[in-house]
Amino acid sequence: MQNHFNQELANLKKNIQQMAELVDVQLEFAMQAMQTGNLELCKFVRNRDREIDAYDNLIQAQCENIIALFQPVAGDLRFIMTSLMINSQLERCGDIAVNIVKRVQKTLQKRDLLTDSGIQKLGSLARSMARDAIEAFMNNNLELAGKVIARDDEVDQQCRNTFHWLIDKMQSDAQLVEPGAHLIVLSRQLERLADHATNIAEDVIFLIEARIVAHQKK
């Protein structure tokens, strides 16, 4: 019975890992699309999101089954709860990859605006947070989770910088208002990506230390 249970937990973890890898690749392609404006890449990312959605449903069903059939407690219960929470964070990260390429497609005529706005720096900050958060979950790495949370402020600052820079540009040239608005939405998506990474890192701390750290003032 115990082996059977451990097998279920291992399966669940394997699926989350595969989903996380998929999300990571989607984010990587979205970042590349941002840098290059490659339309094929944009289409690829948009089409592939349904695979992430399928994992979302699969993992939710797996967690429900494990709770119903095995009634996990203590560390096992926290693992299931964390899996559910991280599952939904990952699914949203996948949606963000899609939203990024949509905005890239809408700003193809004004590539310079994107390149000069600092959005790519914002992107690489947010993406590295997401990557580390996932790694912290996979390897039960408390220290790495803590570092992810600490980096969120840097992203917020970069997001503000980008916002003000874009507003200035839009005020100086009416032609830039529409692409500028798309880029503000894009920067907001990247800021959300960092928030999801932070949430995942908080879930990892809950998993390992049974401590709820979300919504606490720094």
Binding site: M1, Q2, F5, Q71, P72, V73, A74, G75, D76, L77, R78, A210
Partner: protein
């Protein structure tokens, strides 16, 4: 702070030279359900039986330390064991009604404790059966044999029998392990309502049952009390690794 009903102080119990319980320090709160959990042979049932001295029936046993009931040492020479067992009643794993009528089963303890008149006994039997959530099922057949009742009803009858003598503490040793899920649910609901007036200590191998019904859980292993805490703490984030391994089924 909850009041303490029972307190074990450095309590050890020996079967011959075998030390079955070792230096147990445990406070049991009044009007709470305390669950004792642990693998077979861990000493939890020995501890339970030590709380009303039913272990002494066995030959060649002895104790060290003390168990205080309302501040008095129950192992003191001056203690009347019959009175102690009236104050600390017990319900066993296998229901054990006497081969008598339903009424006589519940009245039994009252009669041997020299209870007064017939009217008083009748009133107490009715109240006890009501408190044990059995009255509605047996009120029209109190003279029938207790052995004709179903397993779940027999167990509630044993609880009524324990309640009739107005105990302070009720000890339960796997009271629902031989019952089907519906009868088990009735016993669990009953325990939940009884704790308003009694202190309950229960031994169970059913981890979910301990989680559902108890306020405090104590984990025993190899004759030692490993950890005691609020039940929600034990089942979400126990302090000791051994406790976590036991409740998640990864023991040994």
């Amino acid at each position: 702070m909850a009041k303490i009903a029972i307190e074990a102080k450095k309590f050890s119990f020996y079967y011959g030279s075998f030390k079955a319980l070792s230096d147990i320090n445990l406070k049991i709160d009044k009007n709470q359900v305390t669950a004792l959990i642990g693998p077979s042979g861990c000493g939890k049932s020995t501890f339970l039986r030590s709380l009303n001295r039913t272990n002494e029936i066995l030959p060649n046993t002895h104790i060290e330390g003390r168990i205080m009931l309302d501040g008095e040492d129950i192992y003191d020479r001056a203690v009347d064991v019959v009175d102690l067992r009236r104050r600390v009643g017990m319900v066993f794993q296998k229901s054990n009604p006497f081969p008598k009528s339903i009424f006589d089963n519940v009245a039994y303890g009252l009669r041997i404790n020299g209870a007064g008149n017939k009217a008083m006994i009748e009133a107490r039997v009715e109240q006890s059966l009501k408190d044990a959530a059995l009255w509605d099922e047996v009120s029209d057949r109190l003279k029938d044999s207790a052995l004709d009742l179903s397993g779940g009803q027999q167990q509630r009858l044993c609880i009524a029998r324990a309640l009739a003598v107005q105990p302070e503490v009720i000890l339960m040793d796997e009271p629902a392990s031989a019952l089907d899920p519906i009868a088990t649910q009735k016993i669990e609901e009953l325990i939940f309502t009884l704790k308003e007036r009694y202190t309950i200590v229960i031994v169970t191998h059913n981890m979910q049952q301990a989680a559902r019904i108890s306020d405090v859980t104590a984990f025993f292993y190899l004759g030692q009390l490993i950890e005691v805490d609020k039940t929600n703490k034990i089942f979400t984030a126990p302090n000791k690794k051994q406790t976590e391994e036991y409740i998640t089924g990864r023991f040994g």
